[in-house]
């Protein structure tokens, strides 16, 4: 047994590290094929366990468990959506100094043949610095969440002898999530979160522009072009659907008109017959029953003028 009380945590973390390395080797084409299961689940499992190990390490040493939230925490953001380079680094202050100097230099006007590219480059660097600033604000908010969670745990008193490390961990997770939820629903968090996302998108958009400029110069198609084609194609498809629907409507109306005409024809004939032979009105009315809905009976009214026929008898 080791003399150092925390050795077992180090051993655990080393074991997790070995696991992560074994998992990572799967993606190394030079590496020996392993029998490890689903790379995805293994990655998440070891990331989670690594976080648990970090928590124990910090906690056993009486330090605040760090990096449990947001970009720096378990569950790394998707590729291309991570923290800005330089943000959160140990030499953060140097980055800030550099950013200040860079911002001053970036305010100089651009000249010459490449002035547009220069301006784009300046805008890109400014966007990067801006994103780093918003990222820092976000991290500061999360730091506050940590501190409140730890304060809440302290208020609950020290763990009892009967408690396992795991149960203290679970208790801490509950407090940390409560603290996080409270912060995450605040107006300040909403503003900082949106600023972070907007700054990140602004930076990505400027990066894309530069990539597109290079692609265009190399004679490659760009996403903007593909998007334009897609937008036009979708508009045409929508228009086509609309026209097909109109066509179906017109066909239905034509059929209805044809049916009405078909129904009106025998009724007309019946009207003529009634007008000519008033004595047969009862018989002529029989087929008119089917045409009732087409108001065939109404035109039959003019049959009244048949009265003059009586006069004819005279």
């Amino acid at each position: 047994m080791s003399d150092k009380p925390h050795d077992f945590i180090d051993q655990y973390q080393a074991w997790v590290r070995d696991g992560v390395q074994a998992w990572s080797r799967q993606f190394d084409p030079q590496g020996v094929p392993t029998e490890m299961p689903s790379a995805d689940i293994m990655g998440r499992l070891f990331a989670g366990l690594g976080g648990f190990g970090d928590w124990m390490q910090s906690f056993a040493g009486g330090q605040s468990p760090m990096g449990a939230f947001g970009h720096g925490g378990p569950g790394m953001p998707p590729f291309g959506y991570g923290p800005p380079p330089g943000a959160g680094a140990p030499d953060r202050e140097r980055f800030d100094e550099w950013a200040k100097a860079a911002n001053e230099a970036l305010s100089l006007p651009a000249f010459g043949l490449t002035r547009e590219q220069q301006e784009e480059q300046q805008a890109l660097i400014r966007a990067w610095i801006d994103y780093a600033g918003h990222y820092q604000r976000y991290q500061t908010l999360l730091q506050g969440v940590h501190e409140r969670a730890n304060a809440a745990l302290r208020e609950q008193g020290p763990p009892t002898d009967a408690e396992s490390m795991r149960s203290v961990y679970d208790r801490w997770v509950n407090l940390a999530e409560e603290s996080y939820a409270e912060a995450a629903l605040s107006a300040e968090f909403r503003e900082v979160y949106a600023s972070l996302v907007n700054a990140q998108m602004h930076l990505k958009m400027l990066q894309q522009r530069q990539v597109e400029r290079a692609a265009t110069q190399a004679g490659m198609p760009t996403r903007t072009e593909v998007d334009s084609l897609g937008e036009r194609l979708q508009a045409v498809r929508r228009e086509l659907r609309h026209m097909q629907s109109l066509k179906a409507e017109v066909e239905a109306l034509r059929a209805e008109v044809a049916a009405l005409r078909g129904a009106a024809a025998p009724a007309k004939a019946a009207t003529k017959a009634k007008a000519a032979k008033p004595a047969n009105v009862a018989r002529a009315a029989a087929p008119a029953k089917t045409a009732k809905s087409a108001n065939a009976a109404k035109p039959a009214k003019p049959a009244k003028p048949a009265k003059p026929a009586k006069a004819a008898k005279r």
Binding site: R44, F69, Y81, Y169, R190, M201
Partner: protein
């Protein structure tokens, strides 16, 4: 701010961690033995396809007794297999057992070609043609529509636009009021420049969506969950259940850019279902047009769609026949928990059968 050192007994703590490590080591063998994970186990056939969309018709052990088919409209977020996760956790299977004739809209996985699909294309296009396909198959004027989460919003819009095609409407964990104070996602989205976001990313990557969902409860979902996994590594059935859920969570489609833009802007940011200003393809969505019977089921512990976000529906629609059903559980538990299997499908079936 540091904590006072944890007053643990080193030997006891070491024994605890050693036991944990051994469990994990043994569990690795169990993980290697797990085969491919499949979702959607109920027999089914594709009865209509268009672009990436598939309309599935499920086959039960016995013919359906219900004369009106039931169409399930799932959200664009995640795949629809939450309703048919596995044999003993399947809302679809249980609805079939009740005698329902069940169809499901599977939106598929959008790619760059689908970037410009709008909510009109989804609701008044794809969904409407699915409804028409079912109406034609059954020779009926109207079907029963069951919308889930965002699919519930789609179903509300659809029923408002085409009330004559919906006989009964069921909404499950469906947000109506997006601005309740406990709605974290909506809170975060409120000040985001959605136009800049969509113009930049085009289709919204599934990983970005999932990352946002994970950060709703970051430590629980990114860390504690996997520490807990170690506890069940020696239980093959529970391990498979865990991995199946894990697959469902992360095997998710990207979001078509334009539809995402409209949904985030009009519903999350402007809360237009509540204000009555919602429009789909320029046509106003008047929820008062929904005069057919409506069953609204929500989950009381739902952290994605809080109950307060669903509850106002009854006051917004024109129907005199409105039923609200609160379920003790979360956004996912309402489909996969043991209680849900016993309670939810029979409740839906009974309600439909009474109408």
């Amino acid at each position: 701010m540091n904590l006072p050192p944890f007053p643990f007994d080193p030997q006891r703590a070491q024994a605890e961690m050693e036991a944990f490590r051994r469990k994990l080591e043994a569990g690795m063998e169990a993980l290697k033995r797990v085969g491919p994970i499949e979702l959607g186990t109920t027999p089914r056939e594709a009865v209509y396809t268009e672009d990436k969309l598939t309309l599935w018709h499920f086959k039960g052990d016995t013919p359906p007794t219900s004369k009106t088919p039931l169409l399930i409209c799932y959200a664009l977020v995640n795949t629809p297999w939450m309703v048919d996760l596995q044999e003993d956790r399947s809302m679809v299977r249980n609805l079939l057992a009740q005698g329902e004739d069940v169809y499901l809209v599977d939106w598929g996985y959008p790619d760059g070609a689908d970037r410009w699909l709008t909510l009109e294309d989804y609701i008044d296009g794809y969904l409407d043609r699915c409804v028409d396909a079912i109406r034609a198959r059954h020779g009926i004027d109207a079907l029963n529509l069951l919308g889930i989460c965002q699919g519930g919003v789609f179903s509300l819009c659809y029923a408002a636009l085409h009330p004559e095609k919906v006989r009964n409407l069921v909404t499950m964990v469906t947000p109506v009021d997006f601005h309740t104070p406990d709605n974290m996602l909506s809170h975060w989205a409120r000040n985001v420049d959605i136009d800049l976001f969509v113009d930049t990313v085009g289709n919204v990557p599934a990983d970005v969506m999932n990352f946002a969902y994970l950060t709703l409860k970051p430590i629980r979902l990114n860390q504690q969950k996997y520490v807990g996994l170690v506890d069940i590594l020696d239980n093959p059935k529970e391990l498979e259940n865990f991995l199946r859920m894990e697959k469902w969570i992360f095997d998710s489609p990207d979001q078509a850019g334009e539809a995402f833009r409209e949904f985030a802007r009009d519903f999350f940011q402007k809360n237009q279902l509540m204000s009555g200003e919602a429009r789909i393809g320029g046509r106003p969505i008047d929820l008062k047009n929904i005069t057919q019977p409506v069953l609204n089921i929500y989950a009381e512990q739902d952290h994605l769609v809080p109950p307060a976000a669903s509850a106002p529906l009854g006051d917004l629609i024109g129907s005199d026949d409105y039923t609200a059903l609160a379920f003790q559980g979360g956004h996912i538990g309402i489909y996969v928990s043991g209680r849900a299997q016993k309670l939810v499908p029979p409740a839906i079936h009974t309600w439909l059968a009474d109408r």
